[in-house]
Symmetry: C2
DNA sequence: GCGATTTGGGAAAAGGTTTTCTCAAAGGAG
DNA sequence: CTCCTTTGAGAAAACCTTTTCCCAAATCGC
């Protein structure tokens, strides 16, 4: 802790810099911004003075004049934050270097609260808004169309004609299932969340597609909830019932692709409880790559990562270019997922 | 989605309102703010005009004049966000009704980044800063002393002479251990995190104090890591070794107070694996009340909640009153925890 | 009916910066 | 030595709102 005990350094204005350097504020401004014409000597003298006085321009004054506040709003309804947080920090990281700060607006599912936040942001003249949520297929509880400032949607349902970034869930699912195929797994099951989620269907379709392409048997995806408990229960259904596949003996799955990491955790625990080894007997892959869960699972869980931080960065940068006047085509951009391989899926045959 | 397709409503200024109402801007301003003297009729006419035009004052201009931006900065290094998020939303909720917006600044443990954020906030004339972290006993990587604006510390190590809010970990631990006592548990163990954390010692001391007060045997707390794996291992130590207590037969613990919910989860799983019933044979209480873990545990985990959202609200309100010029005594304020009773600790004898 | 007070409302400064104009001095061409 | 161009720097407007001060008209007291 450096405690020079300087009590309260008064903010120094451009006027004071100018006075101290013996020039007008106009000249001082131009000197510091590299504008206008003056002797190199004058310019340097002013700069030195500013440095000495610790001058920092007042952003409010600048913003007022430039009609640009170097500020954006981040709207989210993901209270728990599992998805929002990496996304938020991606946005923030992308913007901080451009000198842009981020207003955090947690709106829950409360329309009044959301309206309040949006109005506060508009009053504060944010340059743009990023809307983000906990589900790709649900709107935030507020209308952001026709807002006179650019809006980017990230990991939430966009308005028609808007620009949105979402994860490529279909691609993510392919990653997982194809990985199982490469490892030589033949009977791959899919245990996932409730039918009310769009991603459930998207991933299930990708699952079916890959298996069909590879000529492997397709088992009907098991829909349930996003919980460990459902993972347990699903194992019962998969391994207790009469085999879903027609062949002899080996009718039970040798791999389970799960809709999220909690389900996967439940599946792995349930498998262990009935004496099945993971990954030797059954491989398991999760979704979300929720690190703290994936790493606590034994064995550590291979999982599909949606790259939410990258998604946030992309959204931030796009908003920035929109604010800067660059045009951008509306539409939904899907960003690729990546597979984080740990130990629950088995090793490739070749090592 | 209401799409009135109004293309881009231009922001309307006070000047336009005044012109439209046939008065000067001075009068218009006074009419809208309830200042000055004028006929009720004039005032109402101006207000009506403002309403009709959808006038909203430009915050930047107001801030410039009032030297108050109605904006605060929230600094955090809790990337993962388990602790930060409830805290952040508490802060935000407390402030949004006062029209104050919150800049989110994720600084990781990067001094450069932190400096960058702090300077951006100062340039933007935030009214104050709330510093928060993932550990009570560690500083953020930046010096916030002598900043000319008020700073409040919440759930992070404060500078000397500052105002800070932290959870009362000692009280939280008492809550848990006393609850066990009330339930008639006699041999209560404590499994917790690494010695490098201040809270580990604080809670352990409270644990010892309560047991001593009640005349129950004190077992030396088991320090390890904050992980499920350590919970497993600790059960081995507690239940395999020769009894730590001198009495006959019943030397094994009948209750385990855990330093966090992940440890508790590991403990419960390990107990089940060795055929011990929770809560019948052994009661378990966790710490943090990390809902998603506590509820996924079987049986659902009783846990100490640090009330972080309330802590955030308190911090936000205090900062507000500081900004408003109210004096406040420096020092660390400990806010009480609460025990969230689920099913892992057993029921009171009286039902 | 005249001076003193109240009333209703406007002019202008302030807040801090940027940018456009303007202008005097200096330099160059002839 | 005069005219034109360049150079260096300042004055002022603009951004939008709030607040202080001021003034004219109306009201009041007598």
């Amino acid at each position: 802790m450096s405690s020079d005990a300087s009590p309260a350094p008064a903010p120094v204005t451009l006027r004071e810099v100018a006075a101290s350097a013996g020039v007008s504020v106009a000249t001082a401004s131009k000197a510091l911004n590299g504008q206008g014409r003056m002797t190199a000597e004058t310019r340097e003298r002013i700069r030195e003075t500013a440095r000495r006085l610790g001058f920092r321009p007042n952003s409010l004054a600048q913003s007022l004049l430039r009609r640009r506040s170097f500020t954006v709003g981040l709207l989210t309804n993901d209270t728990y934050g599992r998805f929002s947080l990496p996304l938020m920090s991606g946005v923030s990281d992308a913007l901080v270097d451009a000198g842009v700060s981020v207003f955090l607006c947690n709106v829950e599912d409360d329309t009044r609260l959301a309206q309040l936040h949006v109005e506060a942001m508009l009053d504060k003249r944010v340059d743009g808004i990023i809307a983000t949520g906990k589900r790709i297929d649900r709107h935030l509880p507020v209308d952001l169309a026709n807002l006179r400032i650019p809006v980017i949607y990230a990991f939430t349902q966009p308005d028609p004609g808007a620009i949105a970034f979402v994860s490529d869930d279909s691609g993510g699912a392919r990653l997982a299932v194809e990985h199982f195929c490469r490892l030589g797994r033949k009977r791959i099951a899919h245990v996932t969340g409730p039918a009310s989620f769009a991603v459930v269907h998207e991933r299930a379709q990708a699952y079916r597609d890959v298996l069909t392409e590879k000529g492997l048997p397709v088992m009907e995806p098991l829909l349930g909830s996003w919980s460990e408990a459902w993972g347990h229960e699903a194992v019962k259904k998969l391994f207790d019932g009469q085999g879903k596949l027609s062949k002899t003996g080996s009718e039970k799955p040798d791999a389970v692709f799960c809709g999220n990491d909690q389900i996967a955790r439940g599946v792995i625990d349930a498998l262990r409880e009935r004496g099945l080894g993971v990954p030797d007997d059954v491989g398991v892959i999760g979704f979300d790559n929720w690190q703290i869960v994936a790493e606590a699972t034994r064995p550590p869980l291979t999982s599909v990562d949606m790259n939410l931080a990258a998604l946030g960065r992309e959204a931030g940068l796009t908003l920035l270019s929109l604010v800067g006047g660059q045009p951008a085509a509306p539409g939904i951009r899907k960003l690729p997922c990546r597979l984080v391989v740990r130990q629950s899926c088995g090793r490739p045959p070749d090592g």
